[in-house]
């Protein structure tokens, strides 16, 4: 008797789990808008900075990273920077400027390779020229970065 009840409960749990995972993956690919089903596609662009040097609180050179052509429905879904910090660098702010002028700062300490993800730009238009720079909070900081902007359309 107990064995049957146990099997029944397991079956219910499995059905529930299956239905949840299917709806989540469906959400990833489609959405409903004005009775039309649209399918999301994803794409990205990326670019690297040169060596960014910041001295005594002054902003380093700003490096441009261009989106190139994008679909007119493109929407940012995430921005990631892989940053390589030179040894001996003081902590610094990593500055990322959107083509529309909005800017996000991220405080970085330590040296070596770091990965930083920003969600502040999500749902904005990725098109145009992005700018990346650093601002040291100490005497000197040196870093390079590679930025990837993911978008859906």
């Amino acid at each position: 008797m107990y064995k049957r009840i146990y099997s029944f409960i397991v079956a219910i749990v499995m059905m529930f789990t299956l239905s949840v995972s299917v709806s989540v993956s469906a959400e990833d690919t489609t959405f409903m808008s004005d009775d039309t089903i649209s399918i999301f596609a994803t794409n990205y662009f990326s670019g690297s900075t040169g060596t960014m040097n910041s001295l005594y609180g002054n902003e380093s050179t700003l490096f441009n990273i261009s989106s190139g052509t994008t679909p007119s429905l493109a929407k940012v879904s995430g921005v990631t920077l892989n940053v390589n910090v030179s040894s001996g660098s003081a902590p610094f702010y990593l500055n990322v400027k959107h083509p529309d002028g909005s800017v996000v700062q991220h405080y970085i300490t330590g040296t070596g390779n770091k990965s930083v993800t920003f969600d502040q730009f999500n749902h904005t238009d990725p098109y145009g020229t992005w700018k990346v720079s650093i601002t040291t909070t100490g005497i000197v900081s040196t870093a390079t970065a590679r930025m990837t902007v993911n978008y859906t359309y």
């Binding site: 649209s38 190139g68 003081a90 083509p99 909005s102 996000v104 700062q105 904005t124």
Partner: protein
């Protein structure tokens, strides 16, 4: 004063100097360049809202979306100076004080994206083989604008 105390003093000064060097490298001495910039969105989400924009700007954007669809199959121009949507947005945003640009940018993006979505949905129904970058048949675009139904009250 004996030689050993002079040695200790010398060592203390050296340690203090090293400590100062380490401190200067580890604790913030200078602020971030954009700490007080009105366009700093590091810890803000309040700017993602719709604000009033002039009707002319809305209509110019809608026309720019149509132009993008006609000329580049919905793809933005590779050269941003020649991209009509970018040009209209930047011209308008630069006319505003910095404190108003964030929400205005959000609003303009919503306007042209809604129009682009409307066009893309229509084109896909009429020509299921259409994809981004592929020229849109002229008669399909003409049909879209016969009964515009353009909502510019966003």
């Amino acid at each position: 004063m004996n030689f050993s105390s002079i040695g200790n003093l010398h060592q203390s000064v050296k340690i203090a100097q090293m400590k100062e060097l380490v401190d200067s490298q580890s604790s913030p001495r200078y602020p971030g360049t954009y700490d007080n910039d009105p366009m700093n969105i590091t810890n803000r989400t309040d700017w993602k809202k719709i604000v009033p924009v002039p009707d002319k700007v809305k209509q110019d954007l809608i026309n720019a979306v149509k132009e993008t669809m006609e000329q580049n199959g919905g793809m933005r121009h590779a050269n941003e100076e020649k991209d009509p949507i970018h040009r209209i947005k930047q011209t308008y945003l630069n006319s505003l004080p910095k404190s108003e640009r964030l929400s205005a940018s959000w609003t303009l993006t919503e306007i042209y994206r809604n129009e682009a979505q409307r066009l893309v949905d229509f084109v896909r129904v009429k020509d299921p083989s259409w994809d981004w970058g592929k020229p849109v048949k002229t008669e399909i675009l003409e049909e879209v604008y016969k009964s515009p139904n353009v909502d510019i009250k966003v």
